[in-house]
């Protein structure tokens, strides 16, 4: 063990997306030494995929916007299951975080008076999303990356070493968090390039690893989204909550295979696109739920009139909330009325002239032209639901993002609570900034309070971690990890997907037991240097643990809410709203328990109309003196 590489830092940030970078910047600004450890090259994190923008109530386009309105929108979107304190902090701090980006060099699109332009988005009452065309995520990550470079230049001028305070470990994967006596002591990782191991000794670790998309077959996520942070946290003794809430976007590409899952923006429908099945029927009219009957058109004629005259007509059912549309598409395909590639048709070609389509939907036109060789001005797109985002995540303190494990912090998609049961578009990028900063700050404060009493990394921990990480090389004649992964994704897609029932989830849990053995017996060919097979074998463990947490939580929650739809419990229940479902590890699996939400602060409760609260809360929770 003598030649093992070791580093000591005040704070180790795992993940280099928006949240991780913002956390690292904050910890460095607080005077801490920081390591950024990321699985990919620096600047390639999944944040680059975000298109829409960053939600922040700056009021640049509509001055009526403020944090209270943003807070309300966020709580409604999450069906009131959100951590209200996080939603409050998020709404209050997002504008500052966006303005800060400009001081780092970001160039957002502008309003005529030179301020940051803001765009409309689903669920947001006013135009609110700061954006740069349709590449807002790229702008965010590049800006933060360049801020880190600028801090490194400052450090160089002071110390003669660019990396004296922030060091980036790109293409390094953490396999285990090291815990000593109930506190974070560090992390164990390997270099993808060489397969060599590295130990980080650090009293504080910030998880910013993103989501879990790769546990599902059809997903908009990249290979990195293997639930590493969720699994690392749980294995180290922290908890995750509400893992059942997964956002399936109704329109992902289904064909060609190479792009299956890639998003087709909601604007296609907003601009007039219609959904039809293999029989040519515009089926959404059959799927308007009773609660929405009043707001949605019942005939195609009326729906079509809405685009030009929204005052006197009801909107077409293609524009129902995402979960409704996703469910409808799912039902059509299951009933055998799907397209040859298992989706439905989304057509704008017969609805708008070609030049209008190219003008209004340039990126979609390009996406289909370049990736699918489909000209959407001439032919319909094939679309179907795709796994997009996990609302559940590591349970954190709303103010400093510390998990149940002292010294471990989490921010961004890997953390839970902020978005409740359903996330609004645009709220994820602002989430990264607000809570990334808070996690970095929290970690710095924690390190200060800890003083000299830093938990140590023992040789035993390191030896254990090494044995675990190399196990796959010692399996003789085991299974190919790629096959196991494909089967796991299929299982999750089929049995714990967009529509869930008890029997299927039970079956999923049974199968997951089988997967545990298969993952243990996954074997790897070749050596340790840049060996994707080995990397996948390690990631599989994380995906499996996360899958079990999702399946168990989903089985437990007997209601339908946001990103969790039960065929057998189709109604949203105020009683269930009072409960978070928390997951933790037990043995080689996951155990769950119910945990009550803290009641919303009175002044925040008063921001809502009591008639609205009635739909979500139990009578006992309503503001005093206003019981209906």
């Amino acid at each position: 063990m003598t030649d093992l590489e070791r580093h000591s830092f005040d704070v180790v940030v795992i993940g280099a997306g928006g949240a991780g970078l913002r956390a690292a910047i904050e910890a460095r600004l607080q005077g801490k030494t920081v390591a950024i450890v990321c699985k990919s090259l620096f600047g390639k994190a999944h944040t680059v995929m975000a298109e829409g923008g960053i939600a922040a109530a700056m009021g640049n386009v509509n001055s009526k916007d403020n944090w209270q309105v943003h807070f309300r929108d966020t709580m409604r979107g999450g069906k009131f299951l959100n951590s209200w304190r996080m939603a409050e902090l998020h709404a209050k701090e997002a504008p500052q975080r966006v303005w800060e980006l400009e001081t780092y060099g970001a160039l957002f699109d502008r309003t005529p008076d030179g301020k940051i332009s803001q765009r409309n988005f689903g669920g947001h009452e006013y135009p609110r999303l700061a954006h740069v065309g349709d590449r807002s995520g790229l702008e965010l990550i590049r800006t933060l990356q360049q801020k880190i470079v600028s801090l490194q230049q400052e450090d160089f001028r002071e110390t003669g070493d660019y990396q004296s305070k922030i060091k980036i470990f790109a293409e390094v994967t953490v396999t285990r968090l090291l815990v000593n006596d109930g506190r974070i002591a560090g992390a164990y990782a390997y270099y993808r390039e060489t397969g060599d191991f590295v130990v980080f000794e650090a009293p504080a670790v910030v998880l910013a690893t993103g989501g879990i998309g790769k546990t599902f077959k059809v997903t908009s996520a990249s290979w990195e989204y293997t639930g590493d942070g969720h699994a690392l946290a749980m294995r180290a003794g922290a908890t995750t909550l509400n893992m059942e809430f997964i956002q399936f976007h109704p329109t992902g590409m289904v064909w060609p295979l190479s792009v299956k899952g890639i998003l087709v923006t909601e604007s296609v429908r907003g601009d007039g696109g219609i959904l039809t099945n293999s029989e040519g029927k515009r089926f959404m009219f059959d799927y308007i739920p009773d609660v929405f009957k009043a707001q949605y058109a019942t005939t195609p004629e009326e729906g079509d009139r809405w685009y030009t005259d929204p005052e006197h007509n009801r909107r077409p059912p293609e524009l129902l909330p995402r979960d409704e549309v996703a469910r409808a598409i799912n039902s059509e395909v299951k009933a055998g009325r799907g397209t040859p590639h298992g989706g439905v048709y989304l057509d704008v070609s017969t609805r708008l002239p070609a030049d209008v389509i190219k003008k209004k939907l340039p990126s979609m036109w390009h996406q289909f032209k370049e990736l699918a060789d489909v000209d959407i001005t001439k032919e319909p797109m094939e679309v179907g639901p795709t796994c997009h985002y996990v609302m559940g995540g590591v349970e954190v303190d709303p103010d400093d993002e510390q998990t149940k494990l002292p010294g471990l912090f989490a921010a961004g998609e890997v953390s839970g609570g902020m978005h409740g049961s359903n996330r609004l578009g645009g709220n994820s990028l602002s989430d990264l900034l607000v809570f990334g900063r808070r996690a970095g700050l929290g970690a710095a404060i924690y390190v200060d309070e800890l003083g000299g009493a830093r938990p140590t990394v023992t040789d035993e921990m390191v030896a254990d971690a090494e044995t675990e990480a190399l196990a796959a090389f010692h399996v003789e004649g085991g299974e190919n990890p790629y096959t196991i992964h494909a089967d796991l994704q299929q299982t999750m897609n089929d049995l714990v997907g967009i529509i869930r029932t008890e029997s299927e989830m039970q079956e999923a849990l049974d199968r997951l037991e089988g997967f545990k053995e298969r993952v243990r017996r996954a074997s790897v060919q070749g050596g340790r240097a840049f060996n994707p097979g080995w990397h996948l074998a390690l990631d599989l463990k994380n995906m499996l643990l996360v899958s079990e947490a999702i399946a168990r939580s989903a089985l437990e929650r007997q209601e339908s809410r946001g990103g969790h739809t039960r065929d057998d419990y189709p109604v949203m229940s105020p009683d269930w709203r009072q409960l978070n479902i928390v997951s933790r590890t037990e043995g080689d699996g996951v155990a769950i328990y119910r945990q009550p939400l803290s009641p919303m602060r009175e002044d925040l409760l008063e921001l809502f109309d009591v008639n609205e609260l009635n739909k979500y809360l139990t009578e006992a929770e309503l503001p005093k003196g206003e019981h209906s």
């Binding site: 990919s40 090259l41 390639k44 999944h46 680059v48 995929m49 500052q96 303005w99 800060e100 400009e102 001081t103 780092y104 060099g105 160039l107 699109d109 502008r110 005529p112 008076d113 030179g114 301020k115 332009s117 740069v132 590449r135 790229l138 702008e139 590049r142 360049q146 470079v149 600028s150 230049q153 160089f156 070493d161 390039e193 990249s222 290979w223 990195e224 060609p256 295979l257 190479s258 792009v259 890639i262 996406q367 370049e370 990736l371 699918a372 060789d373 190919n480 990890p481 790629y482 096959t483 494909a486 790897v524 070749g526 050596g527 240097a529 840049f530 060996n531 994707p532 097979g533 080995w534």
Partner: protein
């Protein structure tokens, strides 16, 4: 629909390596990266390749397909004939790590040498005002996904290893142009563009523009305008003298020399 395609994939490391032959199934609508993944899943599980988003947005899967720098995720298989042998190699300007993965640290080192954005000291966050027409030029350059194919194809370093110390490549000259055109930047980077980043190496042969997957007009909109701005200051005696008496004087401070570290 499905056919067997012939591939030659470079396998090896920084010591040795060669092109190895594979026959792989290809289905309708697939891209080269799908085929590489199928190779991993069926024939070569340890085939090293970088990729992330698989949608042309992250710039990870840069390689050379039939000798041309390409994003593998954006290279559709139907651009080849069924009997064509398709050759995939790593980028040939950067040191190879293994198989299709190269060491692109050159780019990160150069990125660190570009003097950072420097806004006016007294401007508070939230008070930034910029006109859309003034940010559009820099916005085009900020579309860059850092696939590094422009730096890979640029002959100044591709064909001349020794120039890597003095030349930063199109990507980072474009970054300097981006900052030079930023409406609120207070630093004059024209001197460092030439002295520290080797703008003079560029002979505008435009391969950077040809390979850019984001279709950024690197040469016409970034490199040549930067050369012209440098000429204003450095090579044009009349303009230099005239600008001393101009009403709209350039008030920017020169960027500090890049520390060699």
């Amino acid at each position: 629909m499905t056919y067997k395609a012939k591939f030659r994939v470079w396998r090896g490391d920084d010591e040795s390596g060669d092109l190895q032959n594979y026959e792989v199934d290809v289905n309708e609508g697939e891209v080269v990266l799908d085929i590489v993944h199928r190779l991993q899943a069926t024939q070569a599980p340890d085939l090293a390749v970088r990729w992330n988003c698989k949608a042309g947005k992250c710039g990870s899967c840069s390689a050379e397909v039939n000798g041309k720098p390409r994003l593998m995720c954006m290279t559709r298989m139907n651009t080849f004939t069924e009997d064509e042998v398709i050759t995939i190699t790593p980028m040939r300007t950067f040191p190879v790590i293994r198989d299709l993965v190269t060491d692109v640290s050159y780019n990160y080192t150069k990125a660190r040498m570009v003097p950072a954005f420097a806004p006016p000291a007294d401007l508070e966050p939230g008070d930034y005002r910029m006109a859309q027409v003034d940010v559009e030029r820099s916005q085009e350059f900020r579309k860059c996904i850092e696939c590094f194919m422009c730096n890979n194809v640029c002959h100044a370093v591709r064909d001349h290893e020794e120039n890597k110390t003095t030349f930063s490549g199109p990507r980072f000259l474009m970054r300097i142009a981006e900052l030079d055109m930023h409406p609120l930047d207070t630093v004059d980077r024209r001197k460092v563009a030439v002295d520290d980043h080797g703008l003079g190496y560029c002979n505008i042969t435009k391969c950077c523009t040809e390979v850019c997957p984001e279709h950024i007009h690197i040469t016409d909109n970034a490199l040549i305008p930067l050369k012209e701005r440098v000429a204003d200051k450095r090579y044009d005696p009349i303009f230099s003298i005239a600008s001393l008496f101009s009403r709209s004087k350039d008030t920017r401070t020169p960027a500090p020399e890049t520390p060699k570290g």
